[in-house]
Symmetry: C2
Subunit: 265 residues, 2 copies
């Protein structure tokens, strides 16, 4: 593979380092200010239904880009992106079973694969911090806690399942500010879907998240819940498509879009 | 007094009816879509400090207009407004004591009086209803419950005292929508200041409001609290200025501004 990128932008430099294998770890903290995104790659046979699923569930599955079958570029998201190499780690599934965790897709790529790039809460967390709203899992240096809820998604073809939410605890006045701030970012989950009593959305115990890590909830704080990009991954896993690729947890696609440019206003 | 208004607008027609004495009651429901506002009239000796107080506490005291001393018109708010006659009822205070409740100010008007017109939550309640967010006290046909809090205002001169909030109970998802909707209206109290546990802002019992009426809080609902235009009235009352006039409760000044035009976006 020839390397033609000029690392003028931090996002391009980061992708170049990832492509070279110089950054095999999680992407948090890389190319600050640039949109990082979730990845789901499906065969064309399942892509139309999955796109419908995303369109019907925009808060959990905000599509930033979708490729033509077999196309490895994503020109809307960055110059010279090659989806086979520009993420530090991938997960490959056959019939719902994890069969490989490669650091590139050279050996598994197929001409019928369609790439979906889905917005991620990293973008709005940057805005929360810039507004003085604390983000507990960042403070604690762990993953955000995520929970399956009793809220159904709108199904499409074989894709169906519960909404997965991420949770950030904060004081009430911070929650009000967080709602204002994240409402500006509909392309990356937007406003919360719930706050307060977790039982109302089918969460039995905040200390036992279904994904990620539990975080401390301090005196007077309330849990605030956002639709989460793990929803499409969870739905795909439950659907057990014949073939599927996702990014490895925390190893996101770094795009040339600025988080600030995702703000609706 | 000569009547020169042409009742082309509903707001002008309503003021004309009030001026004639044809509408002595509360103004709720009159001239739908038009901004109704709180009134505070103070001698020039106190007006500069009170204006500073309002500027320092914009969430509770959003100033829509302030007059020159002795001026009875408010051209920014409506053609031909005469503040002495265009509100259905007034309260006149001397040294903090209620001395009269006239239906016009002809006998008490003075050349040193400065009129403050302060935004009112009527404007954002219209927007809440239009967004499908229920407003309990409107459903119940009573006044909104209001509470003195432990949150201090920023003082100015003799004016100081606690923030007064109004409370509307709603489901969490409705509260999230209500925060979005009311954030568009900074000129009429804007976003809530608190939600959830009332004790955190010094409210002991939601069933015993300091002003207005208690309302039902249903299963799974949370109380949502907005800064309230009763704050300046409460602060003025505590300050006991030598002379002061307010509107009588529920008998607001109807302006020619549209509620929709107060939306910041």
């Amino acid at each position: 593979m020839s390397i033609t990128l000029q690392p003028a932008r931090p996002s391009v430099a980061a992708r170049l380092a990832i492509r070279r294998g110089d950054h095999p770890g999680p992407t948090a903290g890389l190319a600050a200010g640039y949109v990082q995104a979730n990845l789901a790659i499906l065969p064309a046979s399942h892509a139309d239904d999955f796109l419908k699923f995303c369109v019907r569930n925009p808060q959990s599955c905000p599509v930033l880009a979708v490729s033509e079958p077999g196309d490895t570029a994503l020109p809307a998201l960055g110059q010279d992106i090659d989806i086979r190499s520009d993420v530090p780690g991938y997960r490959v599934f056959r019939d719902g079973e994890l069969i490989a965790e490669p650091d590139n897709l050279d050996e598994v790529w197929r001409d019928d694969l369609v790439t979906f790039v889905i917005g991620c809460s990293f973008s709005f967390e940057e805005a929360l911090l810039a507004n003085g709203v604390p983000v507990r899992h960042i403070e604690q240096g762990c993953n955000v806690p995520m929970y399956r809820t009793s809220i159904p998604t709108q199904p499409a073809g074989p894709f169906h399942g519960p909404l997965v939410v991420s949770m950030r605890p904060m004081l009430p006045a911070q929650a009000i500010r967080a709602i204002q701030v994240t409402s500006r970012f509909p392309a990356v989950h937007g406003a919360p879907v719930h706050l307060g009593d977790p039982a109302l959305i089918g969460i039995a115990d905040l200390a036992r998240p279904d994904y990620g890590d539990a975080v401390a909830i301090r005196d007077h704080e309330i849990p605030v819940f956002w639709a989460c990009g793990v929803t499409p991954q969870s739905v795909i896993a439950a659907t057990k498509p014949p073939f599927c690729i996702t990014h490895a947890p925390g190893k996101m696609l770094i795009t040339d879009l600025l988080n600030a440019h995702l703000a609706a206003l």
